[in-house]
């Protein structure tokens, strides 16, 4: 049983990604949803790293840096928004945030 390391890495990333996906689907707490998105992002990042190691180029790593930075920014804004929302809804249940529909 010898899988090509790249393939293995990609598979791992894929699995991570799907995990994140599943958790965002099953969670209702906004914070957790945010977390699971982060997981997915990191999975993507991992994929990049694996790919770049496969090609022996630095692009993947650079991309991963960007992802990290962006994730950080996103989380910061996200948490701010969640805080804002919490002030109004007094809950973190995403289902409460459904005033607009139709």
């Amino acid at each position: 049983m010898n899988v090509h390391p790249t393939t293995a890495g990609m598979l791992l990333a894929g699995v991570l990604f799907v995990l994140g996906l599943i958790s965002i689907l099953v969670r209702r707490d906004i914070i957790f949803m945010l977390l699971s998105v982060e997981i997915m992002l990191n999975a993507a990042g991992l994929a990049f790293v694996v790919a770049s190691s496969h090609w022996g180029t630095a692009d993947g790593q650079v991309m991963f840096m960007f992802i990290l930075a962006m994730a950080a920014a996103e989380v910061s804004v996200g948490l701010a928004l969640i805080l804002q929302l919490y002030h109004q809804l007094k809950t973190l249940d995403s289902d409460e945030a459904s005033k607009m529909n139709g």
């Binding site: 990604f17 994929a47 770049s52 090609w55 992802i67």
Partner: protein, 479 residues
């Protein structure tokens, strides 16, 4: 960084610098009027910065960016759109929010993101631009903190945007993993050499399509649109409807061209299905909708579908059609939102059809403008929208996409219904005693802007030749 690079990136650099300056200004001295004026200035400067850049086109800044007619044209388009949105913003925020200044920072940032998207031909720049755009949009959407809807919209957008960019990233990773390239031409070449699309790349494109589709708001990634439009401040909604979608579309076109998307019928099919679905879903959802913001959201979904038809026609005319349609669509959407903005009072946005009942008999000019915009969306002659739609149909016929065209025709008819419903509401004779709740602000600046937009709309509808020639020569470098 050579001089040429510097000039070519003029608009971007100008705006970026402007953001920094603005930030310092705000830190030093909060003054709405000043920041407003400054950002207007920034936009103008950025626009003027295009002119010298023309001399160097086409100019590539490997590997990330490329400045050619296409990107410059869209840069100009985006800047003008941003400028107009800015014009409409002042009164809107003046009456609503105590801390208005950051809005302009965010708007400038978002515009920068869009501009990056327009010039980028590499995953990294694509990603950067996309995220600059998205993250500043989170802030913009949720800007009116006192409004619950605003936050709700913000959260929704954030979650979905993050999700979609996750998909996008993973897709990119897959593509990169197979091709070893992150720049579009490189990918294209690699695929040409491979001669076929392996499943991983296929999947990669599919996942990327999700990220792109989300920003474009096409089925099935459209669900956010109505809520965001409804919750976001109106100028921001206008921004999302026009600039962010436009930028993403430009990127899509560039990417598609560079990887020779037409060689892969698979992609064509998926996009075709999405296009048809978008048309139908958009129009059906708008059919008896009472909230004008949501109607605009749904109609924009449908319009993206129309644009995709031209996109799929796979002929030169198609790209021209898209460019022209984008112009028309920008004018029209901004105009429509503009009307809603000037109609809205500080207490409440004029967003239900009821607010517009008999408008023509109270404020004929506003009503006329809105009618013009709606008719343009419906594609009735004397408006830019008509020429745009005509152009798209032309492209479709040219590419023999009879099925798609048929769908388009059906949908235009469905679409007509709700546009005309709005028009009818404005012209309907209000019953005596019937009083609307909102008392429109109708600020001077806004009105002038709208009149100008309308004139532009009609001008393009009656004499589109100039614009067409511009587009044609700018398109020559693609394909």
């Amino acid at each position: 960084m050579s001089f040429a690079d510097f000039i070519s990136l003029g608009p971007l650099i100008t705006l970026s610098a402007a953001v920094v300056v603005a930030m310092l200004l705000v830190a030093a001295w909060r003054n709405h009027r000043m920041v407003y004026g400054f950002s207007l200035l920034a936009f103008m400067m950025a626009l003027t910065a295009i002119i010298p850049a023309i001399k160097y086109i086409p100019h590539a800044i490997p590997p990330l960016l490329v400045i050619d007619e296409f990107s410059l044209f869209n840069t100009g388009l985006i800047l003008v759109a941003g400028f107009i949105i800015l014009l409409l913003s002042f009164n809107y925020f003046e009456e609503r929010e105590e801390r208005k200044e950051e809005y302009y920072l965010l708007l400038l940032l978002a515009t920068i993101g869009a501009l990056v998207l327009v010039v980028s031909r590499h995953f990294m720049s694509l990603f950067l631009g996309l995220e600059i755009l998205s993250i500043s949009l989170y802030g913009l959407i949720a800007y009116l903190r006192t409004r619950e809807r605003s936050d709700e919209a913000g959260i929704k957008y954030l979650m979905l945007a993050a999700l979609s960019s996750a998909f996008l990233l993973f897709g990119m990773a897959l593509v990169y993993a197979f091709t070893g390239h992150m720049d579009f031409p490189g990918i294209g070449v690699a695929l040409r050499q491979a001669g076929y699309l392996p499943v991983s790349v296929m999947a990669g494109f599919g996942l990327m399509l999700i990220g792109v589709g989300f920003k474009l708001g096409i089925v099935p990634f459209h669900m956010w649109a109505p809520d965001i439009y409804e919750g976001a401040p109106l100028p921001v909604a206008a921004f999302i409807a026009t600039i962010s979608k436009g930028a993403m579309l430009v990127l899509l076109i560039r990417f598609y061209q560079d990887i020779h998307g037409n060689d892969y019928p698979m992609l064509w099919w998926i996009v075709a299905i999405i296009a048809v679905a978008s048309m139908f879903v958009g129009n059906w959802l708008a059919l008896t909708q009472q909230n004008i913001k949501r109607i605009l959201a749904y109609s924009s979904i449908a319009h993206m579908g129309y644009i995709l038809v031209a996109f799929l026609s796979g002929v030169q005319t198609g790209l021209e059609a898209i460019a022209f349609y984008l112009v028309a669509y920008f004018i029209t959407s901004i105009g429509a939102f503009g009307v809603v903005i000037v109609m809205s009072s500080s207490l409440q946005d004029a967003e239900t059809i009821a607010d517009y009942k008999g408008l023509f008999w109270r404020h004929p000019w506003v009503a006329t403008v809105f009618t013009a915009m709606l008719l343009s969306l419906a594609g009735i002659p004397l408006t830019a929208g008509f020429i745009g739609k005509f152009y798209i149909v032309m492209a479709g016929v040219n590419g023999h996409q009879w099925f798609l065209l048929f769908m388009l025709v059906i949908n235009s008819v469905i679409g007509l219904y709700y546009y005309i419903r709005l028009v009818a509401a404005m012209f309907s004779v209000p019953a005596p005693g019937e009083q609307t709740m909102v008392t429109p602000a109708l600020p001077m600046a806004g009105n002038i802007t709208l009149v100008l937009l309308t004139i532009l709309l009609v001008a393009l509808g009656v004499y589109p030749t100039a614009m067409m020639q511009l587009i044609q020569q700018m398109m020559r470098i693609l394909v």
